[in-house]
Assembly symmetry: C3
Homo-oligomer: 347 residues x 3
Amino acid sequence: MTDDIRLCRTFQTAPAAVPKDDTAKYLVSALEAEGFQAPDWLVPDLEDGTAPDMKAEGLENTVEKVPKYDFPGEIWPRVEWSYEDEEYREKGREQIDRLVDEVGDEIDGVVVPKVGRLEDVERAAAAVAEAEREHGHPDGSIGLSIIVETGRARSDLREISKFGEDSRLTALIFGPVDYAAELGGRDLGDGMPRWDGLLEALSNEASAGGLLSIGGPFDDLFKERAGLTFYNADEYAEQVEHEAQLGLDGSWSLYPKQTIQANTIHMPTPDELERDVHKIERFNEAKREGTGAVTIDGQMVDEATFKNFRNTIQTVRVIHDRRPDQTEERYDGDLLGRALELELSYR
Amino acid sequence: MTDDIRLCRTFQTAPAAVPKDDTAKYLVSALEAEGFQAPDWLVPDLEDGTAPDMKAEGLENTVEKVPKYDFPGEIWPRVEWSYEDEEYREKGREQIDRLVDEVGDEIDGVVVPKVGRLEDVERAAAAVAEAEREHGHPDGSIGLSIIVETGRARSDLREISKFGEDSRLTALIFGPVDYAAELGGRDLGDGMPRWDGLLEALSNEASAGGLLSIGGPFDDLFKERAGLTFYNADEYAEQVEHEAQLGLDGSWSLYPKQTIQANTIHMPTPDELERDVHKIERFNEAKREGTGAVTIDGQMVDEATFKNFRNTIQTVRVIHDRRPDQTEERYDGDLLGRALELELSYR
Amino acid sequence: MTDDIRLCRTFQTAPAAVPKDDTAKYLVSALEAEGFQAPDWLVPDLEDGTAPDMKAEGLENTVEKVPKYDFPGEIWPRVEWSYEDEEYREKGREQIDRLVDEVGDEIDGVVVPKVGRLEDVERAAAAVAEAEREHGHPDGSIGLSIIVETGRARSDLREISKFGEDSRLTALIFGPVDYAAELGGRDLGDGMPRWDGLLEALSNEASAGGLLSIGGPFDDLFKERAGLTFYNADEYAEQVEHEAQLGLDGSWSLYPKQTIQANTIHMPTPDELERDVHKIERFNEAKREGTGAVTIDGQMVDEATFKNFRNTIQTVRVIHDRRPDQTEERYDGDLLGRALELELSYR
């Protein structure tokens, strides 16, 4: 029952080529990641993460390295694109064509940035469909995810979501840096805006269209205090927790430590799991006694409340289906067993 | 002039049947409420407030009890429905048909939960229209209000509001628990999100479509401190005040004490009324002297500012029209008299 | 390259007629403003700022005074209008006709308040087009800006933005006082809502449609403490900074001191300019070395990050183009010179 549920707690971009002796160093390192350091989605980045003069080499690295590793999650290369520049779209089409041709069986889809209004998203979908046909892959087998980072894409989010109900569109990912640049947002000492309205809309429209919603990157990777530079774990965790609270399905990671954190936060805590397993167990008992709105520990539980508890259990089941190493590491065996066996129907 | 203005400061749901010796206990208790404990809208709840195996009895209780009481507000039963399940919609249609048939003269409309996109709202409206025709009630005499609690309904809120401009649609009510479950929102220690974007949109679209907007239920009815369990008056009041600030017309109540609080908060305070009566009295004086943007107590007053003062007076007049017991209890007789006699035209 | 970029850091309304011996006193005083006291847009106000019985005199003042001054910014009279009242629209059409006839070469456009849904905005645009044709001005030479202050306009903001992509529509200005009155917002002690969702949408839709976005007026001009009444500089600055952070292009001013503040805040600080000039200078160096995502001072810089730095420089260039007195007063000559000469292309 969890087979058709998409999982993307972590959307980790890795530059497809870097100016080092081994230009595929970061890509390979991400492909080799294990346990909580392995993201649900690995995104070989041919766009902003790779320098303009290394794009070609990034594409070679991607088609060469991806097939060599048995990566535990999904693979979604990010190509170039721009709603306002046909030259970028043409590059994007060539990159999509090459990827589908050479690693069409290994990738789950492509990520297209800087899309504009609905018509531009449809144009990106058509580019994927064309490559699919050209290289003999089944219709719909190569997914499309988009970065929402322009005023036009935000403006058309409802229409894009409706398009997503019945198309290859899979995930809506927020791109705050391009977005702030488009709108002219400014950091006047308290940082850039968090764009709460957009995040809430992203979560809603993804839900309405049956899509995944993913937050934007956090690039203050390190902070310095008293002479020491250290990984900025607190601020990243706060961003990811805010996204999880709003119902975003996952967060963007730029770095293995961020992946550990986002994988962890977008997974119920042992306390949450214990609490909601307990609630449903007590609910199931009360149900046998025929009560509708029952009070458990002072809180009224009706079908709607019940669904929130059930979400917790279902998320654990989906993660267990894909990454049993993570659920077995995180939860007590007895608790996990109860979560896997629980009866989840309200009626 | 206040005749056609709808009033719903309080939307109180009462389970239509509960597993007690007297299954109509809570429904009857709500129908008997007086003074500030009587909600503007009483909602006999056939949906989540009544257990699955007591729905039939809930419907019997509703058609039997409602006609027996001279309830001072409006009666809006909540039926079953779901945008994603025809079985629930069929139950909803049967419940609507039975209600309109037996108590069509006593109820003001029906509340339909879990609606999806515009098309589903139109489907619900058609079900009401059909029952109306079938049982010989005038076209449009039975209203429709909907619970906004799915990603799809939130996504289509503008289109639903436009439909509401010229249809039986009367109120948009927020359903946060189902909504959080749909979006996958999580409580990570600070509670569920308040969904500020949705609340603001609800207030706006209700205003644009000439509809009422109502906040969601607050179910932490009691809290415990130092061994004592007591009614959680502070937190509920804070939620209702937040809703009132944003221009929502009313709040959801689950309990008579909540009804007292929401009736009170969605009514101008004596200080607000004194302040705005005073401002308009001084404005009317200044108007006789021919000044446009006048300064009263350091604040510039133009037509727009004036409208805000007038809102206060008009709200009091509408409440006085429906529930004079409440206005007479709340305001000094002299102040109320000034409010009822004040000239309210800007020009 | 800055010629076609619109600049409106400050939208200052001035009553077109006041009940004083010299009824044009405030209008003339605004037309004579210099330096940071001169707004980018001066708005002779025939609507809420001028008393009902002085509208005719306000129109005379406007057509008489505007041509006499060489005002350094743009001139945008605000006329009367209402989506719900044909009488106001007819007055608005007459005012537009008279303004275009007599001062069509001196004004940049007209500001139309209280617009409703898209159809009403199109109706306002048609009124301007008609006056343009009637009096022989080139098509599109007289702009249209609208006050967003009704539930309907907020509801249709996406559609209005799309209309703005290819029409005379120039700016979206927020009108919070009428807006709060429409929605029934209330001040329960913490002031009126800030309408964060609307402000974020205004910034987004303006960006999507190539329009300017402007915040609403702040009318608590003065505060009193310990017997002294003084200009409320802090609270106005906080509102303007919030608007600037969200990417609004400008703020509404009611008073010369507010104009100084808004002109200043919607202009990069010397520190911001120094920082972003420095970042781009270092980026340009790194680019010569062929690196894509480079780290400068611990922050990763890709094309998107780069665009945010570039915004700062471009804003300074546009202001320098229109108001060199202000840039020369604000910035060190050496820093300004570096900003004007910097290479701004990412590739």
